[in-house]
Symmetry: C2
Subunit: 357 residues, 2 copies
Amino acid sequence: MMLRQTLPRNTRSQGLVRQMAVMAKSLKYTQYGEPQDVLHLVETQLADPKDKQVLVKILAAPINPADINTIQGKYPVKPKFPAVAGNECVAEVICVGDKVKGLQPGEHVVPLTTGLGTWTTHAVYNEDQLLAVSKNVGLAEAATITVNPCTAYRMLRDFVKLSPGDTVIQNGANSAVGQAVHQLCRAWNLRSVGIVRDRPEIGELKQQLECLGATVVLTEAEVRTTDLFKSGTLKKPKLAFNCVGGKSATEVTRHLDNGGIMVTYGGMSREPVTVATGPLIFKDIAFRGFWMTRWSKENYDAPERLQMFKELCELVEQRKFVAPPHEMVPLDKFKEAASAALTFKGFTGKKYILNMS
Amino acid sequence: MMLRQTLPRNTRSQGLVRQMAVMAKSLKYTQYGEPQDVLHLVETQLADPKDKQVLVKILAAPINPADINTIQGKYPVKPKFPAVAGNECVAEVICVGDKVKGLQPGEHVVPLTTGLGTWTTHAVYNEDQLLAVSKNVGLAEAATITVNPCTAYRMLRDFVKLSPGDTVIQNGANSAVGQAVHQLCRAWNLRSVGIVRDRPEIGELKQQLECLGATVVLTEAEVRTTDLFKSGTLKKPKLAFNCVGGKSATEVTRHLDNGGIMVTYGGMSREPVTVATGPLIFKDIAFRGFWMTRWSKENYDAPERLQMFKELCELVEQRKFVAPPHEMVPLDKFKEAASAALTFKGFTGKKYILNMS
């Protein structure tokens, strides 16, 4: 990218917007397909921000499963072509239109809406699509805050009223959402039981998740025979999170307390959730789903939303909440990063974050 | 049974309770098993009602699936042995204890709680276990009002806010609950789509259910290809009732509107409900269960409960609500009735009502 003109430190405070011409390098696609096939790095000259527009320089933008699925055409959100890929980022405000009131050049921002196209060096967004975040929030945390931590936050808050000491159980406990759940449970004094697939380095993984706040981590085999709940060591969970489906979900359901809810937010096994009639009727178990994109749309301006971002950012600043293990990758290495993200079955491995800072 | 002493018309108004000795003939069991094997007609002398007790003569008591399952030991409610079978009835008050304030001899009552043991000629219950109902409510309707019509009423009221013109869809649409749903939908100006298994007399069954208030009745095959909802003939249902499970439930789910709820209250196919991940997450479909016994326990004294009985009885009195097709059977023919009830797969046939009047 090139900035054809050096920017004054604060254009708005001088009551005018300087003319400039920014060349953005963006990962664009004009048809669905595998990211390495259909994404192309394209240079575009951006117009100056007008009115409520904001020119930002993207600092970091993660590669999320939903981004890949969107590019593949497998996600319910369908972009207009040509589209810039990517939905999350942290960016620095470079320059603002003359009607922008709440943002200053130099501030860090994250997107309040999906589909903005964040895999780019620069972009022009509208002020109401952006939320300012403290620079004390690390780039990796800020770049990944709007999807997975928010999913964990809402699923813990919006389905069952939990009190300190209550138990939450989840499969896919090492997913990005899973890690966020463990950390929020620790911050909110909830017991967090995580279930993961068995693997050679299971001891290391358990330790890693317990460091994040998991009370206990069990393999799929161990959860079948555990007496953690029967023995009273932990209260029976009122809330379960499922991102796997199939047998894994069924096993989790068995441990739910009467009136408990299983919230599905993913289906990594590609198998449906099987719901026995007995628990539905006699134990009043409920099965719900959660999609952050819908919640955000329905609560765009809601005070709960700003409150959520405030709390999450505070936890990050207090070092009580960290981003998942990740690797920063330069934008021009996106093909390797997208391939690597795909080869981790179920995307539970390292998170790749495109680094444009 | 024999009444050893003729009763004064209203013992309470005379400020005293006459001594009497009533021999009750009851269907008792002391172990789980098939009803025809473990039920025995036993005579017991009943003590006079004291304090808040009420002596009743049972007029009619239905044979419900849950009664059979309880006798078989397959139901989550476990009786203390020896137990009198049966849970629903309509009875006539014969005589009341001296602290009974709200019931008069001669009144008709229905039980407010399950497990009272209603397959008997006479019984002594507590006043707070009984609800007076108008004698204008027919015996068959009164005897069967506390379980199936209440299940239909609550499922229509407590899960989704429905407006006149909204659509409800259900499988097992000719079950006792199904028939109640059709009738309540008609009374409340809701569209009621029923799904039934194909059978030789399908035309007759469809007509019968449409007479009760079903807007449309489809076979399992027809529901797979119907364009009733796509074409806009009917609004997409926000609420579905499932008493079958398996593929039948899956087909019903496909038609649910975004944010719709499937409520399971039975599992006649003995197959679980299969919940695809996509609809859970992206369509926000929810899967719940309903058990009248629990609701009644949790809302024993709730105004909503009395209001429900009031509304249902009014509908019966106005001839807008009828009992399912039934056959009155004398108490000493219970073995034949229990066997006949069992041979109707899924209990969707005729309802057998023990008649002691």
